[in-house]
């Protein structure tokens, strides 16, 4: 078992005829993901990436192919439209890869999504993978191996680094979820931790955070009070200079400065083992087996 994506995933690729969409659709098919359709306005009736039917609208794609998951590769200016279309068509899981979506657009989109049954991952994320079963994202599939460690991360390439180290030690993964680095997004650490806690195939969890915001502190609170499975974490940005991106008013409202030190302290208080560098995560995770 795994969380969110598995053998039952029927994937729709929004933007399948663009260069990124086509390349990654091909890669996901090669990995064994069940890609059932593409959606690109004006391209309905065509075939993409071999024998994947393309539809003008997501509604048509869902009605014809029973797609239950969508991955979005459309430019930032059209990405919110694409994810709202997927939600309106009843797609259960929407994964948005696109980066540079204005934050206020995401605030409005998320407010609407909360009134639907759809779940969003991203934007500005690498997607997710249940190794050996389904890849709904842009990560290199071959570095993963099936197993019992659940991964949740705000970062892209840093996650690959950690997975590479885990796989090198023979430690497999149940599902790796890249939640993305944007201030306003879909699933957060807390949501994914709750899913891993419930998932029978996941025996321990690796959390990869970074500076900014307080999502790691919220996660730490849940780990301390509710979670039974062991958690290992790495927080990137311990040496980053403060204040380069966010003004102080943002820090005040979130009740913290968002520094790595604050996050590490909160996680340590919750009994989480903290790695000093990404490769050390694999060593710490090995202790939990």
């Amino acid at each position: 078992m795994s969380i969110l994506v598995d053998n039952g995933t029927r994937l729709l690729v929004q933007g399948i005829t663009g260069s990124q969409g086509a390349f990654h659709a091909e890669q996901m098919i090669q990995y064994g993901t069940n890609v059932v359709a593409g959606a690109v306005p004006g391209r309905g009736g065509q075939w993409a990436v071999g024998n994947t039917p393309v539809f003008d609208t997501v509604h048509e794609a869902v009605a014809t192919t029973d797609a239950n998951t969508s991955i979005i590769f459309v430019p930032a200016a059209f990405a919110v439209d694409a994810l709202l279309e997927a939600a309106d068509a009843g797609v259960a899981l929407i994964v948005c890869i696109t980066e540079n979506i204005p934050a206020l657009d995401m605030a409005r989109a998320r407010a609407y999504l909360d009134s639907t049954d759809s779940v969003l991952i991203g934007p500005n994320c690498p997607g997710l993978i249940s190794p050996g079963t389904a890849k709904v994202g842009i990560m290199a599939g071959h570095i993963h191996t099936p197993g019992n460690v659940g991964i949740v991360s705000r970062s892209g390439t840093l996650t690959y680094e950690v997975i590479y180290a885990l796989t090198a030690r023979g430690i497999g993964q149940s599902t790796a979820v890249g939640i993305g680095g944007d201030p306003i997004k879909g699933l957060n650490f807390l949501d994914v931790l709750q899913m891993f806690e419930q998932d029978s195939a996941t025996e321990q969890v690796v959390l990869i955070g970074e500076i900014g915001g307080t999502d790691e502190q919220v996660a730490a609170d849940y780990i301390r009070t509710e979670m039974n499975k062991p958690v290992t974490a790495f927080i990137a940005g311990q040496t980053a200079p403060p204040g380069k991106r966010m003004g102080h008013a943002g820090a005040i409202i979130s009740g913290g400065e968002g520094t790595a030190a604050e996050k590490i302290e909160a996680l340590q208080d919750a009994g989480v083992a903290i790695a000093r560098h990404p490769e050390e995560i694999a060593e710490l995770a090995a202790h939990n087996i």
Partner: protein, 380 residues
């Protein structure tokens, strides 16, 4: 991206927020002319994108046009925290009876815009938050509904505003919210919002930070960018699509992905080195971008070694290797370069490097230790 005070106040004024009569001057003579036109006492305010202008002597009163010219001559060209003052705002001086804080910020936890007000205006809001947090009143605006009148009134009554100002304040708070949303801001502050000698509310100082992701659709605001906001190198990097931040260490870094770039800096510190920069070449970078990034890194004379850490995915290792080789052939490289690359097309990439006699490492920690040793002159 940050806007200057005068730019921020002009944005607020477009939404109906009252601001003082004033103009921008780049010479003392212009400052004098503006002061003559205003015909009253003026305040000369340096326009630089850092806080603490007043304490640095960058804000001064002038009673007459003569004095305005003299004061402007002192302030123009002044150095404030490393920035040279090139513009001053000449504003009609307000007779300040009381000072209020009013600000809007994107609250990522609540996923809404938070509007904050305080009776303690004129000082930094983080000071108020630290000393008297109960004096900050906050409301959260639903993104699909916009700011409601009752929310603005909650702020007005919450900070104990005299009744006769509640209606004007409500309009200003709603204007601030509209300005925030329509400008795609991440922060918009009026500090202080004053009650002046005519018993009117007026925005005496203002500040706006814009969401960089929205700049493509905010062309007018994007054009207001002050090139002094970032170092020339940071600006050059941004223009080629690289994120770069100057730091003060000796190991130049080139990494793909922001999280991995930060982690790489952390590991350099862990092994006793110090990063010279943060540099993320982004996803899918080709040989040209790698060349541009190396050129930027090597321009920094403090750099004693370069560490390139690439985890191939969208970015192909062979592309990066070609860029490195091209850079070495076209630039005068006098410092050791350590490359660590894994992922898509890593074998091809390593072969390209080996053909040019460049050392490469498999493990990240091994590569970092090589770079730290190289920077200390211990050979790579």
């Amino acid at each position: 991206m940050k806007l200057h005070e005068y730019q921020s106040k002009r944005v607020f004024a477009e939404y109906g927020v009252p601001i003082p009569n004033g103009e921008v001057a780049t010479t003392p003579a212009e400052a004098r002319a503006i002061a003559e036109q205003i015909g009253k006492s003026v305040v000369i305010k340096s326009q630089v994108l850092v806080g603490g202008r007043g304490k640095a002597g960058g804000i001064k009163l002038a009673g007459t046009p003569d004095e305005a010219e003299k004061v402007a001559a002192q302030i123009l060209g002044m150095d404030i925290k490393g920035l040279t003052v090139q513009k001053v705002l000449v504003d009609e001086a307000a007779d300040i009876r009381s000072e209020i804080y009013l600000g809007a910020v994107l609250d990522r936890g609540a996923r809404k815009v938070a509007i904050m007000a305080s009776s303690e205006g004129g000082v930094e809001i983080e000071e108020v938050a630290a000393e008297t947090p109960e004096k900050i009143i906050t409301v959260h605006v639903h993104p699909l509904l916009g700011m409601q009148g009752y929310q603005a009134r909650q702020l007005a009554y919450g900070i104990g505003l005299p009744k006769e100002h509640v209606s004007a304040f409500t309009k200003i708070a709603q204007s601030l919210y509209r300005a925030f949303v329509e400008s795609d801001a991440s922060l918009a502050e009026i500090n202080p919002l004053v009650i002046n000698g005519d018993n009117q509310l007026q925005a005496v100082d203002g500040k706006i930070l814009l969401d960089d992701s929205a700049l493509p659709r905010q062309k007018e605001l994007a054009a207001m960018r002050d090139p002094d906001e970032d170092s020339p190198t940071e600006t050059e990097a941004r223009e080629v699509g690289i994120s770069y931040i100057d730091l003060d260490g000796e190991i130049g870094c080139m990494v793909n992905g922001a999280g991995l770039a930060m982690a790489t800096m952390d590991i350099i510190k862990l092994y006793g080195g110090s990063p010279a920069n943060f540099l993320d070449i982004g996803g899918g970078a080709g040989a040209d971008k790698v060349l541009a990034a190396l050129r930027i890194i090597l321009r920094d004379a403090r750099v004693k070694a370069v560490l390139i850490n690439i985890f191939g995915g969208i970015t192909r290792c062979d592309e990066v290797a070609n860029g490195i080789v091209e850079a070495i052939n076209s630039l005068n490289v006098e410092v050791p370069i350590v490359v660590r690359m894994v992922g898509v097309n890593e074998d091809e990439g390593r072969q390209i490097l080996a053909d040019s006699n460049l050392p490469s490492a498999n493990q990240l920690s091994e590569a970092v230790q090589m770079a730290v040793a190289a920077a200390k002159g211990e050979g790579a």
